[in-house]
Symmetry: C3
Subunit: 312 residues, 3 copies
């Protein structure tokens, strides 16, 4: 999974994971994103960096926000965007993702933004890409969501400047979260050592370094960053975790629980939120929340990724 | 609902309803639309008025014609358009419309075209819009469809010049029609006094001024404008109204019934039509029909709305 | 069906079928496509030939590859593209295809790319098109798929130069294949006489000239071109043809069977492929396969069609 970077230490060709991405490349992406970021209410600058390039949004899982974010990022750089919602259409004829990729690649396309439920499919596509074609993950099973990880550390950096010495609490279904995995990989690369995980015991991760808590208060205590994760209601229906009301009481972030964190702690959530389940509305919309800023930063980070991969 | 206009008498910021829209603003929109209108077969003029702006088509109900009309209107003014069909996708993750709106608004977007089944949702979005963000209704429950109302009066104006002294008959399911409500509001503002409603008793409106008839012949007699509404076949299945054949006999507009109107009366329909149910093919495609012209005018009117709201 | 061409021998207005298309027009399209073709890895040239034009992708049947190919072709010529997936949305309100067409035509649109399951619908639309509006088939029942036929002969021409003297084997469900029909029409026009069909007896065509074989070895023996067709798995479920395993054994193209063809024979498939059913992976991805090149050529051919129809 890290091979993509190891082979090309100086230059990024695909972006499938943040694991193993050299710190210099990661920081360069964040700095590029800072240049490209437009604050809400400010006029967009028109870029022609990707003029003549075709970006394919190839989503095998439904998505609204990530797809829209990539689509706007690509178009604001001057690229043509072709969006294919394969969650509905691919099943019709049952072609393999690789054959779909081969076909679209043969249409003189340049970069694929791909989301797929199954781990490994993106690596397969990248291995079969033409030399001039790039693959960017928009989410891969519970393994990886690298642009989300980038926007998370980009957002933290805007508020906390340095990563060394930060305490980050990640609360919720960490075990199944590609968001958490990518964020942790980026935080580690940037020097954050104190990462804590909290949630129901069966939703704590086995593969991530850091302290585990079933009591979220202990994870949140003294934290600089509190990252809440979306809980899948299907897990409640399956009886794996308590119902919404009880989940909120035990693990949800309300104002009282947030007081345990540092006074200037920021609150993050990758969205979409279950208000009143993992997070209280007054926290989601409160002064410490950077949740909407994450979205704004997401466009900037994706522009940085596309521009970096596609520019000569 | 009319507060949006009352607060800003000189300038339109959102367009959620035609109720309370000052006559001067309404006429200014119609005149702008007349400038922007391109007759069928004439070359489009390319505008850059909205260059650098992003328009989001956010449809929580399915739509083909209104969505396409707004999409073409925005692009022909030079805007980027992001179309999100939430009728299919939103249900997947169950986020509230307001959170979806917050998210898309954080992507440096400028104007939202929104359709929603539930009355009040659009007002909620507009209330939570950033100062630089505009909301335009593309249909709200049975309450309001302001750009349809605008295109209706724009079309009438092209054929009848003045509104004072016109007799307008609206036939069909007026009670549940957002199209009828917006058209009536615009007609009233422009000075039309004689508006008649016809249809099955249980489909006549309670909240609209004007004479009610269960016999459409009486409403159509001497009319300058005959506006036929689409009948929802589900109401037939529910037994609320007679079957298609009987509905056509009693309320449908055929050539004989149209003869009761003025000789130069025009026939309108918002589409999509049920041919042979509310309207006979020979009338829909006949010389008095302006139904296709309504569609052409719809693009012009939407361009006028977008240009008026988004231009400095 | 051929009337469209017969009426306008000098100039193409609609493209609904290749039947009856004069050789000169067919060759002109292929030459235009050759000029517009961009090899994989080469930079796109930006064209403004269709600047100010609106192309509507109106698909009443699901499609990924053909829709994407037309969309990219139109945009790379500078047109605006409106894509409407009616396979999902049209059923919602039950409007007839002709009324949907009338509506979209009234939006100052210039060219419709239409796919429909039912034979004759495209002719109906073309007959009701405004004088300045063009209709291009993207697939019509099992009758016609003219741009697929064009890309097939374009691909053959690149490898074989001349059509006279070629032996072409078409293997699979020829009876229900619009791809086969359009390819055969183009091949005949260009001078190919030796066309053979192979497949299960009940899937052999009744309306096409050429030799029929239930043993594919006999059709493939000495062929210059082997065109494999997609088999619909629904036909297997209906018990009309043997199961996948048995179908592959009897009719599938593997390396051994391909050896029966000429040494420099090319292998074609319109996609999407059922690997291991009608074609072996080693053949699909092998040195004689031009399957991906067909896709690249498809964009060029569609650009040629759009540019030819829409240019003054």
């Amino acid at each position: 999974m890290t091979g993509k970077h190891a082979e090309q230490p100086q230059r990024l060709h695909h972006l499938l994971t943040l694991a193993g991405l050299p710190q210099a490349l990661l920081v360069a992406l964040l700095e590029r994103a800072a240049e490209l970021r437009v604050a809400p209410g400010e006029p967009l600058r028109r870029h022609d960096l990707l003029s003549g390039k075709t970006v394919v949004n190839l989503f095998f899982e439904p998505s609204t926000r990530t797809r829209a974010s990539f689509e706007l990022a690509a178009r604001r750089l001057g690229a043509e965007v072709l969006t294919l919602d394969m969650a509905f259409s691919s099943t019709v004829k049952g072609e393999s993702p690789l054959d779909t990729f081969y076909t679209l690649q043969a249409m003189n396309t340049d970069l694929f933004v791909v989301r797929h439920r199954e781990p490994g499919v993106l690596q397969t596509l990248a291995q079969h890409a033409l030399p001039q074609v790039h693959v960017v993950s928009a989410g891969e099973g519970s393994v990886s969501h690298p642009t989300q990880g980038l926007l998370d550390v980009f957002t933290i950096r805007r508020h906390k400047q340095k990563f060394d010495g930060l305490a980050v609490a990640i609360v919720g279904d960490v075990r199944h979260s590609r968001v958490a995995r990518s964020a942790v990989q980026a935080l580690r690369t940037l020097g954050t050592r104190d990462i804590r995980y909290a949630g129901p015991a069966e939703l704590l991760p086995e593969d991530l370094d850091g302290e585990r808590f079933t009591n979220p208060d202990k994870a949140i205590a003294g934290a600089d960053v509190v990252m809440m994760l979306r809980i899948q209601k299907e897990r409640m229906q399956a009886g794996l975790i308590p119902d919404e009301h009880e989940y909120f009481r035990r693990y949800g972030l309300d104002a009282a629980r947030l007081k345990l964190a540092k006074r200037d702690a920021i609150v993050m959530h990758p969205g979409p939120m279950n208000r009143g389940v993992e997070i209280a509305p007054e926290v989601a919309d409160g002064p410490q929340s950077v949740i909407r800023e994450q979205v704004t930063n997401g466009v900037a980070v994706r522009m940085a990724v596309l521009a970096t991969l596609l520019q000569k």
